[in-house]
Symmetry: none
Subunit: 200 residues, 4 copies
């Protein structure tokens, strides 16, 4: 009696997950060119099913993006437990870049920047980074003129850098993360030419 409803529901939930995973893979491989049809095929469902879960392609993208940010949020929260605040911040940037290198979905971010779910999770991430940054400041591991918003914005930098070098070793971003992290040291920091931006 209840079971058919339940099994329908869990099938639906499973399809949702399949679709999100397929969309992530497809977007990572094909970029924005990935089509709804391809995603549906990869998830093993019909094209129409995509639209019964996500009213719009944009909505699907937003869900993928939210998923993606959620992983970073979880990472940040885990690292708040860490003893060494400076190392925690470096580790956070490392995990973030590593994840981004494995599946670059940055091009999706701007598309779903307005989406309310994305806004919420993004704010959460920003807040968590705030905690990481505060602790790093407290133990003097980070130049004092750098804010949570700065760190949030710098997340993607190392991976983006190597995008322009086709055939680069996949973890070359570690080199540029090191350079940037050197720029974040308190020692000998030169005054920054512009004030830190406000978080919207």
């Amino acid at each position: 009696m209840a079971s058919p409803t339940r099994s329908l529901r869990s099938d639906a939930a499973r399809n949702r997950e399949l679709l999100l995973a397929a969309a992530e893979d497809e977007f990572a491989e094909r970029g924005i060119e990935a089509s709804v049809a391809d995603i549906a095929r990869r998830a093993g469902v019909a094209k129409g099913t995509v639209f019964s879960h996500f009213a719009t392609k944009e909505e699907l993208i937003a869900a993928v993006v939210a998923n993606h940010i959620a992983v970073l949020t979880a990472t940040a929260e885990r690292l708040l437990e860490s003893a060494d605040a400076g190392a925690a911040l470096l580790e956070f940037l490392t995990v973030a870049a590593d994840r981004r290198q494995q599946r670059d979905l940055t091009f999706l971010m701007s598309i779903s920047a307005e989406n309310s779910q994305v806004v919420r999770i993004r704010n959460q991430l920003h807040a968590d980074i705030g905690s990481l940054v505060q602790r790093a400041h407290e133990c003097g591991a980070l130049r004092p003129d750098v804010t949570a918003t700065d760190i949030y914005l710098l997340i993607c930098a190392p991976v983006h850098v190597i995008e322009n070098l086709p055939g680069a070793p996949s973890d070359l971003w570690r080199r540029y993360l090191a350079i940037i992290f050197d720029g974040l040291r308190p020692e000998g920091a030169s005054p920054l030419p512009r004030p830190a931006p406000n978080w919207p």
Copy 2:
């Protein structure tokens, strides 16, 4: 599309420029979604005219990209005359970021990465950056483990960083360029975790 004065044959070159400018604007505003039809409309010519100048949309993109890189090349070459090699390098990165901030066409680069004209001008830019870097090394203004390819790759970083903050002041990139440039100082540089990449 009748205008009081029909285009003159000697204006063919002018149409080419109009098209390149229109394409640059349109791509900067609409991203890769910019259509040939929109570009033609913006340039004030018929759709078919685009294809009499550029056989393919890709070819048009390559021309835009090449144009864009050429400006950087010219800047680098001008700065080779400069007395202070460290300041010259910073200025180069500043000009490059400034230009890129005005019109972000990075997403076009990968599309025309193979184009022979683009390859040529890109190699030229890399070589010019090589000269700037060598002079900076010679006067100790740059950490010794950083190469021309590193600098080439870091060009876009500051601008990309602020892409994720809608409504940011347009020259906020200067803040992140300063951070990165601090990371490029020789003083107290930590060893880099990966070797410098080869230029293809």
Copy 3:
């Protein structure tokens, strides 16, 4: 045709048939100039629907051609039952020419010559003609130096002949089929200047 319950599937099948019929008509009337848009309009469906049935214009053409050959194959197979092998061969050529006169699609053949479905059905037709020819040989109704491939190639000849006479009576081809059939008699046949071609 089918019950309302199955109507989705059978509507789709019906659309496929409508499209094939419309394509046949349109190609017969306009030649290769017939556009997908015109075909869709004639079938009463949207342009996009054509491509949900046939991935490509070429694929649509191949389906039309295969349909067309299939009728000839069925005719040949029916005539294998006939008692008089010579009359059967003449009848086959008559039916083939008659059909071809109603809708000349020969110009489509070369376009889809490579299509695997077309190749298969074409080989089937050739084999069936082989049986007709063999029986005709056995009862001395056909000059012995003529092969199945010869007959296959001669199918279109009578109709093509009258193509160059606009306003000709529509069954004028019967006159030229008679002349050619006279040339196929065993009596007084002059030696043929070239060997029979191989079937690919």
Copy 4:
């Protein structure tokens, strides 16, 4: 003094010939797909020049077709001198088929069927074939129920036959011309099922 005018005129005449030759080649190689631009390029002139000689692509096609028929007319007229009227007719059909095999332009005929120049030269050809046929009738080399129009229509048959066999030896048409010619013998001719058509 007078020479510039003269040389301009003869340049124009030469361009006309170049264009006709280029068009013939291009149409033979590419079929109806041959574009005006390709023809101009092959002739080594600008696209616009094509239209200063032929107001329309159709007009160019008509000129090519007329040229083509003119060769057959000349052949027929030469063969009227021949002693053996039967052999002359066979030779005419052989030359016609050979020429057509080298450059198949049949698909152009229907396009320019109405063109007045083409109509005139076509009538001339028909008349010349009439003389050949009459002489063949007089010496009993041709079945009496066959007319000049029949022969005119049969010209293309042998070549068309082999069109459906890709990779056939290029002179395989001789085999089918022989078969058809056997069908034209007076001996044992069966009555033809339709009256000979009228020439328009």
